[in-house]
Symmetry: C2
Subunit: 228 residues, 2 copies
Amino acid sequence: MARNKIKLVRIANDASRRATLKKRKNGMMKKVRELSTLCDVPACLVVYASPTDRDPVAVWPENRAEAERVMERFRGQPAMERDRRMLNQEAFLRQRMTKSKEQIKKLDRENRQLELTNYTLGCLKGEGLDGFGMEDVTELLGLLEVKAKAVGDRIEYLRRSRDVVVAVPPTVRMNVGVQAAMEEWRRQEWFMEMGFQTGESLSGFSNNNIVGTSGVGGGWSGGFFPSL
Amino acid sequence: MARNKIKLVRIANDASRRATLKKRKNGMMKKVRELSTLCDVPACLVVYASPTDRDPVAVWPENRAEAERVMERFRGQPAMERDRRMLNQEAFLRQRMTKSKEQIKKLDRENRQLELTNYTLGCLKGEGLDGFGMEDVTELLGLLEVKAKAVGDRIEYLRRSRDVVVAVPPTVRMNVGVQAAMEEWRRQEWFMEMGFQTGESLSGFSNNNIVGTSGVGGGWSGGFFPSL
DNA sequence: ACGCCTATATATAAAGG
DNA sequence: TCCTTTATATATAGGCG
């Protein structure tokens, strides 16, 4: 734009090209600034000295944050692959988060139920019945009966089964804790009142495993009650 | 740049401002193109008509991919806040994910334990003892004794407590299920063998709640056993 | 608002130091 | 290479249809 008009093609001369870049770059900067100022609009200009340079030779607005805001908006459009990837990635993670949270919630609910049951079991195990009234205790007693029935049924079944019986020792080998508990139990007057005959309640059963430790899903072959 | 020189401030007149934007915007586009062509360098220009517009009024290079490449490089620098934010956001989410997974794992472990216990309880409730051998059943029986002891202790305590006793009806009002169970229980021969006297096992207890439904942490005042 | 015109402001190629 | 100069090319403010 001066002295000579030039063709709009890459300037062959290296020095000239660099010089032109410098001049025009400045001109551009001034123009963008003016445009943005006069028209009061967001605008952004980025110029590199070469396709391989890491840093731009020119950036407007000078304030990087401002430039980023403009870029930001531009990128906001559904065009940039990298962003789409990133956003998808984020969406993906968010989705996973939601699912996880739901899972946690569900597990937590389940847990609360199980803990309740567990608490009950704890009481059953004799960890303390303080806080329960006669009604509760009575109900518990009833439940114990139901359980005892199940045990009885099972014993009955085992007794009548000939094909699975392996051995039937003459005495019961109960674990120490149970034996001690039995002793205390027998000392309770209500125990007597209920019709038990001292010293003969649990004889005649085998402690041998007849059908194997099998059954219990998951595989806990230890004690009957898992440690809580 | 013509007729009159203008001050570099926002053009007050609305129409003039818009007109100027249009003209200068075109000028800028031409300039960027020239710059990029002549000097053979990457450059990018984005202009918005207003701070709130979604789409730019001007973008160069026209080829969006090209513009994106330039932007991309600019953004590639480790200075862009947005990227840091995004990366941080992603890192944050990943962190949360990890935590959630850990929580799930923990809850799951807990659940497994509780389910085991629960399963046991299910068996206790008479849901079936198939799969258990004589050893298991014997142990269960022992456990029942321990429980019974706890019940007995509690009943004993309630009996001796004068200050909390409210009423002691002469007969036990057990729920139908328990009564039925008792009947079946009594029919079992092993039941008789164990020393129970038919028809008199559970008389004399009150179903009145003496110390209140109180105790049980969390507040489930319904049945003794929560429904599973 | 849109395009065209034109006087004038600006930008800048090329030359010189 | 950089700055300055300067002749010229371009850009554009303001006016008009």
